[in-house]
């Protein structure tokens, strides 16, 4: 893909475990993401979604393959990658003793937003997320819904072109999850490249322009929902997912059997 904002080629991550030996958490995955699209990474718990996204965010280093974001290689230019990226996950909490405003200022500055425009940017985020009422209260005093809004604002404080949301609705109530989905949709409409990982099928169906199905560290299939439907003959994403996973269980080379992309291909 020519204009890919995110390019992943044969990405691997292995861990060593005393009792189990080498564990391949991510086993050579490939995908690309375009500007203004939401790319969904759909998989069960332990499939390798978070490890993949952590490698893209340069939190973890790949043990094989390559990945670049906004033209910056994750190994060679980790700081430039992180400047181009906003990362949101259930384990990226806020500093409890800072106020919402201080939080946004800090993340804008540390992610190299132009210093002379930080105050203006913070004000616009406070307006956008409707958090003016409690922007000067310490985060530790806020409700989880309020924290969630500040957390999303924090993720985009430096206006990055790429956003990663790793299971962002886990633990949220229905209304908060819907609000999160609305914000993610808005960000896509603004032209951001979004990688959205989830194990909730309805969420992926509703939000994602393309969906990669990941299982045991491998991408089993990648395409739009319609393409997945055509490939599997199933209508609902839940059935599509089960179809792909069952195919790997049948023992055949899963990727080949369902037409998943080979290394360096986008799957389109």
């Amino acid at each position: 893909m020519e204009n890919a904002m995110v390019r992943v080629e044969g990405l691997q991550k292995s861990f060593w475990d005393e009792s189990r030996g080498e564990i391949r958490a991510v086993d050579g995955i490939d995908f690309d993401c375009r500007p203004g699209e939401i790319f969904g990474l759909l998989g069960a718990n332990g499939a390798g979604k978070t490890t993949t996204l952590r490698m893209l965010a340069t939190i973890l280093k790949p043990t094989g393959g390559r990945a670049s974001l906004n033209g910056h290689d994750v190994l060679a230019e980790p700081e430039a990658v992180r400047r181009s990226l906003g990362f949101f996950s259930a384990s990226t909490a806020l500093y409890p003793r800072l106020t919402g405003r201080e939080t946004l200022e800090f993340f804008a500055r540390i992610n190299q937003y132009p210093p002379d425009r930080v105050a203006e940017r913070v004000d616009s985020l406070i307006d956008r997320f409707g958090i003016a009422e409690y922007a000067n209260a310490r985060v530790e005093k806020l409700s989880s819904g309020m924290k969630q809004k500040i957390s999303i604002a924090r993720t985009i404080a430096h206006d990055p072109p790429i956003l990663i949301f790793d299971e962002p609705t886990v633990g949220l109530d229905v209304m908060a999850a819907i609000e999160m989905q609305r914000v993610v949709g808005e960000l896509r409409d603004e032209g951001k490249t979004i990688i959205f990982s989830t194990h909730i099928m309805s969420e992926a169906e509703k939000l994602c322009d393309r969906i990669g199905i990941i299982h045991r560290g491998r991408i089993l299939a990648l395409g739009t929902l319609d393409e997945h439907r055509q490939a599997t003959g199933q209508h609902y994403l839940e059935d599509i997912f089960v179809h792909y996973v069952a195919a790997t269980g049948a023992g055949g080379g899963a990727a080949a059997a369902i037409g998943a992309p080979g290394p360096g291909e986008s799957g389109q």
Binding site: R82, S91, R109
Partner: protein, 431 residues
Amino acid sequence: MNWQDVWTLYRRELRSAFRERTIVVNSILMPVFLYPVMMWVMFTGLMFVSGLTDRAHSRVVLLDAPRNHPVLMDTLENRENVELRDQISADSAVSLIRIGELDALVEFAPPGAEGDKLADNFQVAISYDRAVARSRRASDRIEAIVDNYREEWVDSEAAELGIAGAEREQFRIVQENVSSDEQMGALLLGMMIPLFLVLMVALGCFIPAIDSTAGERERSTWETLMTVSASRLSVVTAKYLYVATVGIMAGVLNVTAVFLSLGAIMAPLLAEAGDQFQFTLPFLALPVMIVAAISLALFFAAAMMILASFARSFKDGQAMVTPVYWLALLPIVLGQQTDQTLTPMIAAIPVANAAMMIRDAINGVFLWPLMAETLVVLLVMVALCLMLARMVLQFEDLLMGSFDGSFWRFAKERLLNRNGKKTAGAKQGVV
């Protein structure tokens, strides 16, 4: 490393820290108020207890009191803190002393063969229970009264025989303290300030070191921090400088508070007790103390952060870092040897060297080559700690907090392990 990033991160750490009650209490309020107040309370308490002790009665039984020494008997009977009990047998009195119902038995007896030369001479045997403070005090009181009386009595007897006091004594020991009040003050400052400075710098670093590592993991802000565009080195440097800053602050605040309270609280109290102290510091002692505080803080911050980085929670962190705090105390024992000054050997012992350097400076002793050796040793220790930190942080699982074990297990399995297979995939150059 980008110093602008370090500054932004450093300010964030400090801002959060000064809103955390535990850090404010441990690193600011305790150094400023606790020890000076504790010192005042202890001294006042000691004076109070001493006053109570002076007024407490000693219960005494006298046996065979000499009739020819009525003045001695009057003194014993009229002494406010001596209560003479009815006469009983010696055995009964000893039994009562053993069960704590009597404090001392005083038995007068004729002198031995040598003492017989002086008419009306006598000897005194005091039975008491050395294991009981009240009984010991009773014995001391009786001994002092009898000694005092005997001195006066011998003087008067000698005078009647025409022997002057000086002739009778032959020689007399006279002590004179040639120390000035300032030197006495320096002695006390030299004992207290190095101890407080080392302890407070270590205490100041303690909570921030845990809070900025294990605390971040516990609050789930560690991963948030790992996604900012600042380099890992900038993040670690900012944290390190923050921990050291709080340590320095705690040390300097405490020493200032101790110094001021010694002058304002202790000096008047000591003067009341009959001791004259004047608390002043040589001008050069101030920069020496500041340099020592900075070096100690850099050392403690590095050592504590390395250990705290193995903890997954604040509680784990406390358990892992506490040994450093106690280890810091051991070398200070050397600093309490009051006649010792900095030597090449002591200058080579981290922490002890700084404590000794401070004490020397307070006493106006500036051994510049040995002070330079002290600083070099401390800075080498800091460099070693930072090198170790760099090695440790190259392991991804440790950086991410997924390593489940202590520093010792890590050192055994990773740093000392020659089997490359086991570490494959774990070590990823990060910083």
